[in-house]
């Protein structure tokens, strides 16, 4: 079947009333948490996972995906109006977006952010649809050795392209892998690391890990700082662009979309890396780099397009190879698993309606976001006036209900709280939690493939080096590691991430 045929099948699924409603709910919830600081897409998706049990798998995935890209829209709104990124991926938008707002151009900044995001959303939907078929065909040729090497490449890539200490990130992955294999070993039936606790025999739930490390830890660290949020209510008028602004912005939108689509594909990529990299590129290609940080429209257009494109194309490795590349995708693995769908190349063939429905729903969701969000900006800003002291208990409540209802067990709630404490400790020690979550999801998969690969080779570990595809991927992983040791690349990597933090 050709591209048009696939997309038509997808739209038939995505445009059913029930799926339209779930796309809308996802997009709105995403925008909401994108606007609100202190809760990100990871914690939200973890919170809502249990409520999707009752839904059709495709509706559930459409809603959860909507949260991720919806958050990119919401995050830009607060960055521009309040100089406060609702999401890390919108941090760079603050630099020029808020300057534009101070100059009375808030309307133009919001408009270009929305238009750029929508354009990027359209292009990357087509990109996902085109790349997915050949990639999943390739993946079907993979044996266990290739899968093992692919996972290693994915995990190494994820930490090299993310920021922070490499050594810590790799250690966090290994710790994640270890936590991932807690519970009954499928081959021998041995309950590992369960300490005789019946709940642990089924393994640790991904919701507990994600919610604790991302949700609870974030709330606690916010409460530790006495900082008060300032409300700079800039007046938003004229949500449109002048001709000059449009001419300046559109090349940035194109570049951002291209860059974001490609970076989204890479392990560790996704919305955040895409937006940071796009800002750096825009500054580099500009005739007058001094305008950046003082309200250059390219500084909004590029990153906002890039983060949306990146958010969408990061679904490609998940849907075609079964490998999550960031924390949100790790949770999508969890979501697919509770609906008995094994993420990987077989999804497209065994469940084409689900696959194409999800892909096209992203385009539908983006359209809804543009149409609904621009007029609703005033409402989102009002919402920010709810003080944090009232907001965080509500977030805690929804988290607690979400995790309790997984299996109506108070053990799950306590377990989540334990991960919350661990999360605060990791924040203090500057250990990023995302690699741990990736490792956690991949733990059982990695063990199974390692076991199978070595069984087939009769215990000969050189199998990973003698199979050409597997060797290529391991070489690529080594190359990535060597890259980071090079002083030049190391400096670049730090620069890209520091832009957003200063």
């Amino acid at each position: 079947m050709d591209l048009i045929g696939h997309l038509t099948m997808g739209f038939e699924v995505a445009l059913t009333p029930i799926n339209l409603i779930y796309a809308l709910i996802g997009a709105l919830v995403g925008t909401l948490i994108g606007v609100l600081p202190g809760i990100g897409p990871v914690a939200t998706i973890a919170m809502l996972l249990p409520t999707t049990y009752a839904l059709q798998p495709v509706s559930a995935l459409i809603m959860l995906a909507g949260i991720y890209y919806g958050a990119q829209y919401g995050g830009s709104t607060t960055s521009i109006l309040l100089n406060m990124p609702g999401e890390t991926s919108s941090a760079v938008t603050c630099l020029d977006g808020h300057q534009m707002a101070l100059k009375g151009q808030a309307g133009a900044a919001l408009a270009i952010a929305a238009i750029g995001s929508f354009f990027a959303g359209c292009i990357s939907t087509i990109f996902v649809a085109t790349v997915a078929v050949p990639l999943s065909e390739l993946a079907l040729k993979f044996g266990p050795a290739e899968y093992c090497s692919l996972m290693i490449l994915g995990l190494i890539g994820a930490v090299v392209l993310a920021h922070g200490s490499l050594l810590k990130a790799i250690a966090m992955i290994v710790l994640g892998l270890l936590l991932g294999i807690v519970g009954t070993d499928v081959n021998s039936g041995t309950a590992r690391f369960a300490f005789g606790i019946p709940e642990l025999i089924d393994g640790i739930g991904i919701v507990s890990v994600a919610m604790g490390l991302f949700g609870f830890a974030e709330i606690i660290t916010n409460l530790e700082s006495v900082e008060k949020r300032e409300l700079v209510t800039s007046k938003v008028s004229g949500l449109w662009l002048s001709k000059v602004q449009f001419r300046e912005a559109w090349p940035a939108v194109l570049r951002g979309t291209g860059l974001g689509s490609v970076l989204g594909l890479l392990p560790g990529g996704g919305a955040m890396l895409a937006s940071f990299a796009s800002y750096a590129v825009e500054k580099k290609v500009s005739n007058d780099p001094t305008r950046f940080g003082k309200g250059a429209i390219q500084g909004v257009a590029g990153p906002e397009s890039a983060n949306n494109a990146g958010a969408q194309t990061s679904f490609i490795p998940l849907l075609t190879l079964g490998i999550p590349e960031n924390a949100v995708m790790a949770l999508m693995v969890g979501a697919m698993t509770i609906h008995n769908i094994q993420p990987g190349p077989q999804v497209m063939t065994s469940n084409p309606a689900l696959f194409w429905g999800l892909v096209t729903s992203m385009w539908v969701g983006n359209l809804m976001l543009v149409v609904l969000n621009l007029p609703m900006i005033g409402m989102w800003v009002k919402l920010l006036q709810v003080p944090y002291r009232m907001l965080y208990p509500a977030i805690l409540l929804f988290c607690a209900i979400g995790v309790y209802t997984i299996s109506n067990a108070s053990f799950d709630v306590s377990q989540t709280a334990a991960f919350g404490a661990l999360g605060v400790l990791f924040v203090k020690l500057e250990c990023e939690p995302a690699p741990l979550l990736l490792g956690f999801v991949l733990g059982p998969m990695m063990e199974e493939n390692l076991r199978r690969a070595l069984l087939l080779s009769r215990g000969d570990p050189t199998v990973f080096l003698t199979r050409p595809l597997s060797l290529d991927m391991l070489l690529a992983a080594v190359a990535l590691l060597l890259l980071i040791v090079l002083p030049n690349f190391r400096k670049k990597r730090e620069e890209v991430f520091e832009e957003g933090e200063t």
Binding site: A54, N187, I219, L450, G459
Partner: protein, 157 residues
Amino acid sequence: MRFIRHPKDFYAGLIFIAFGVAAIVIGNNYALGTAARMGPGYFPRILGILLIVLGSALSLRGLRLHGNPIPAWKWRPTLIVLGSVVLFGLIVTHLGLVISTIVLIVLSSAASHEFRPRESLVSGVLLAALAVGVFVIGLKLQLPVWPWTNSVLPWSN
């Protein structure tokens, strides 16, 4: 001159070493098997060794590089936030969603330095109504609403 120059790296390393040692010690009870026929203890053993190696490297680096001290841990938010969540998990089956919600909201609000008891009580009552509406009536999750009753309204049981 401090001995531990980069405390964040040093202590993070110790934590990883501790997890690695635990994995190996506890994992000792599981059959190791051979590479060709891995037992349940094989993979955890590999991970344990990796954690010890990585953790040691990190700790040693913490003695060499310079870094900022670990920020102080204010216990109040951690204890109150996590404590109120755990309490919610323990009482919700017995006392029902409404009472548990109000308890969670009022208690967890106390973690903020701008705690206002009356405001949190009002917000707790409103959120309890919302939670019943969304989770019990809307999403039809199996949650008790009141103590000893299974229905939404306490008097209709």
